[in-house]
């Protein structure tokens, strides 16, 4: 009859060396089959179109060997460092960690507020900080969909793109009316007459349009779960990108859109002129002002995302998202409308993606479909997963680690991805549930006790 509901899975060190060896042999076999045609045989079209091929069994053997050894190494590492949590730390150490953990978020916030002060003269670092904050915001937005509602969305970049293009198209240019001026590049034509207020008016509009697309794309996937949901959302992300790429009249196709209005300090432009911000407050103009302003802008947007998410989690809607991730059938039996609950998660997640997109457009002043490839979705998803699904602090840490780490390895050139991938694999072995793997309850009677990750479901994904 009914088995007791899930107990924390205990690590089982039962299997010995034979098991490791077996696993390695299987991995090597898979690699052999996979790479036999890809690497083992090299084909090329000859000068007159005939097929030339030669074998590269040496390379094939070395790759299969590497997979074999790598599999053993990874399995041993898994045993050795293993998922933490099985190790009981002494109470004093745990208490120390708890204090550190509680101080970490405020410390990060204060540091973030001071970044433009500390790095005022280092444009590169300021730029990087803006980039990191953009990903923090995207991570927090996607976290609503993946971390809280448990819906594996591989096409999040679609909403980022919708936000960016909404802003770019509405703010600027005769693009919606290409027949007015039929030369490319289209000259900026402020048809909404928003002037310096373009960004501030169109930011919410872009977010709402992205949310609308969240609902539109959400409808067809309501009944899909897990892998199917992931694949369809991935396809949606690609469809949006391809539409942007091919709808030349509207979007400029691969050439993108340039001359997107830059942000203003609530109507005051950040320009060297008479009525610029610098002249207004009586300091000499510096292009760094814009960077500083952009940084605080994205910081504010990200913090709004964070605040809204934290609030929503404690509202019935947020609890319904998490309950849906835990058990959809039980939700239905309790009278929760799964359709609206899912759509609201998609819409709100998409809305924050749209805000981030509008910010991206105003920051760059130029957007093209290249910026919205699947790689972006994968990166944001990796940030959410690495952070620990559902954890706001974890996502922020993961964004810093991923984007910062990516820059750190820049010197390694073509090996960057390799090192990066390796580090990711090690991290996921060490902390399979992400950097911050426990869940904080949304309401409590006596005391707020963290819930261990092994109990928390990951949803259908």
């Amino acid at each position: 009859m009914a088995a007791p509901a899930s107990y924390p899975a205990s690590a089982e060190p039962t299997a010995g060396f034979a098991f490791i060896l077996k696993k390695a042999v299987i991995s090597a076999l898979v690699a052999l089959v996979l790479f036999f045609l890809m690497i083992g045989i090299r084909t090329e079209a000859g000068s007159s179109g005939q097929l030339i091929y030669w074998t590269r069994f040496g390379e094939l053997a070395s790759i299969v060997g590497a997979v074999f050894v790598g599999s053993i190494v990874i399995e041993l590492l898994r045993r050795w460092i293993g998922p933490v949590g099985g190790v009981e730390l002494p109470a004093s150490v745990r208490g120390g960690f708890a204090v550190l953990g509680r101080l970490l978020a405020p410390a990060l916030l204060i540091f973030a507020l001071l970044v433009p002060v500390i790095f005022y003269n280092q444009r590169y670092l300021l730029d990087l900080a803006i980039l990191v904050m953009t990903y923090v915001m995207l991570g927090w937005g996607l976290n609503i969909v993946v971390g809280l509602a448990g819906l594996l969305d591989l096409g999040y970049v679609a909403f980022y793109a919708v936000g960016a293009y909404s802003y770019a198209l509405l703010a600027q240019s005769g693009l919606p009316f290409p027949h007015f001026i039929d030369t490319y590049p289209y000259v900026a034509l402020d048809f909404l007459q928003l002037g310096q207020w373009a960004f501030w008016v169109l930011l919410p509009v872009s977010g709402l349009l992205a949310a609308l697309w969240g609902v539109i794309l959400g409808f067809p996937v309501l009944r899909l779960r897990g892998d199917y949901l992931a694949i369809v959302t991935l396809a949606f992300g690609e469809i949006i990108r391809l539409v942007i790429l091919n709808w030349q009249d509207l979007t400029g196709g691969p050439n993108g859109i340039s001359g997107i209005p830059r942000p203003t300090v609530f109507g005051i432009p950040l320009t060297p002129g008479e009525n610029g911000f610098a002249a207004m407050i009586g300091v000499p103009f510096s292009p760094t002002h814009r960077l500083v302003f952009l940084f605080y802008l994205i910081l504010a947007l990200a913090l709004i995302t964070n605040w809204v998410t934290i609030r929503l989690r404690r509202l019935p809607i947020g609890r319904a998202w998490e309950a849906m991730r835990e058990d959809e059938v039980a939700c239905r039996a309790l009278g929760i409308n799964i359709t609206t609950t899912k759509l609201s998660a998609f819409a709100i997640g998409a809305m924050f993606g749209g805000f981030a997109g509008a910010f991206f457009a105003t920051r760059q002043g130029f957007i093209s479909p290249e910026s919205f490839s699947f790689q972006e979705s994968a990166l944001v998803l990796a940030i959410v997963v690495l952070g620990g699904m559902g954890s706001q602090l974890g996502v922020a840490l993961a964004a810093i680690a991923m984007i910062g780490g990516f820059e750190l390895f820049r010197g390694l050139d073509q090996f960057r991805m390799l090192v990066f991938g390796g580090v990711m694999v090690l991290l996921m072995i060490w902390r399979p549930r992400g950097l911050i793997g426990h869940r904080a309850p949304t309401v409590f009677l006596q005391k707020r006790t963290e819930i261990s990750a092994s109990l928390v479901k990951e949803g259908h994904g």
Binding site: A5, R319, E322, R332, A333, I336, N337, L445, L455, V456
Partner: protein, 278 residues
């Protein structure tokens, strides 16, 4: 008031899965403020009946009518999915416990009050800015949850993850969660499964108190005959999707058809039927 209509009247309910006829022309009624037990050997179709009542399956035929105390009438065969709990106020538990294991006991009970709280939170807009009316509603919800935690003796474990609770506690928590949805009809699918004798006795008391103190009607699927015979007001026996007996516990226990059905299925169950209630 005139003679109260039965809370639930099922008429000619039929459920077909492809070629399998899981329920065949089943008709019975469940009286208001009574415990109606639905029993039968394994595979008789009991859970399927529940799934039809609670909107998880769309019946192939027949009608199911639910009447609230205030006379509001719902045709459950035309209502679906979450609407059955939300509007017709039918809550259920599952044969395999379906709590939200990663949420605390208290949170489980809060999720059950979703619709009330959702309205109070102005569909999240009022709640987002902490409107006083929402805060009051939330305090009320917490109070109801606390009351139920007290009833099932889990008050001191309110902040523990549901998945961490012992099996018997999980069973009771699932009942409390269903009750927090403030149902008119509570459907329990084998609540005593896996419980020891003490826990079963406590469960019987809990169900009787739900019937007598709260006034909720209960539809109960149960294999544990001591529980069934002790607390049910009325028993419906199902075998191979067909009703074979319907009546007071004593009459059903002595019904030769019932004994035969259980004998055909399982000697131990048959013995249990005979001994139960004695």
């Amino acid at each position: 008031m005139t003679t109260p209509a039965p809370i639930l009247a099922i008429d000619g309910l039929t459920m077909r899965f492809g070629g399998i006829l899981a329920i065949n022309e089943l008709s019975f009624t469940a009286q208001r403020r009574q415990i109606t037990a639905l029993i039968g050997p394994n595979g008789a179709g009991k859970t399927t009946v529940f799934n039809c009542i609670t909107g998880f399956y769309r019946p192939s035929g027949g009608t199911m009518t639910l009447v609230h105390d205030d006379g509001a009438t719902f045709r459950l065969d035309r209502l679906h999915d979450f609407r059955i709990c939300k509007y017709a106020k039918v809550a259920r538990t599952f044969q395999n416990i379906r709590l939200f294991p990663g949420m605390t006991a208290l949170e489980n009970l809060m999720v059950a009050q979703h619709n009330t709280l959702m309205r109070a939170s102005g569909f999240s807009l009022l709640g987002l800015f902490g409107a006083p009316s929402f805060r009051a509603a939330e305090r009320q919800a917490i109070d109801l949850a606390r009351e139920w935690l007290q009833r099932i003796g889990l008050l001191d474990r309110a902040d523990d993850a549901a998945g961490n609770l012992p099996y018997g506690d999980q069973r009771r928590l699932e009942i409390a969660r269903a009750m927090c949805a403030q149902p008119a009809l509570l459907c329990l699918d084998e609540p005593a499964a896996g419980l020891n004798a003490n826990e079963s006795a406590a469960l019987s008391d809990l169900l009787l108190s739900i019937r007598d103190d709260i006034g909720t009607s209960i539809l109960l699927i149960e294999h544990d005959m001591s529980v069934v015979m002790e607390i049910s007001d009325h028993i419906v026996v199902l075998d191979h999707g067909v009703k074979i007996a319907d009546g007071a516990p004593r009459a059903v226990r002595d019904n030769p058809k019932v004994v035969a059905a259980y004998l055909g299925a399982d000697e131990e169950d048959a013995a249990a039927v005979m001994e139960g209630g004695a």
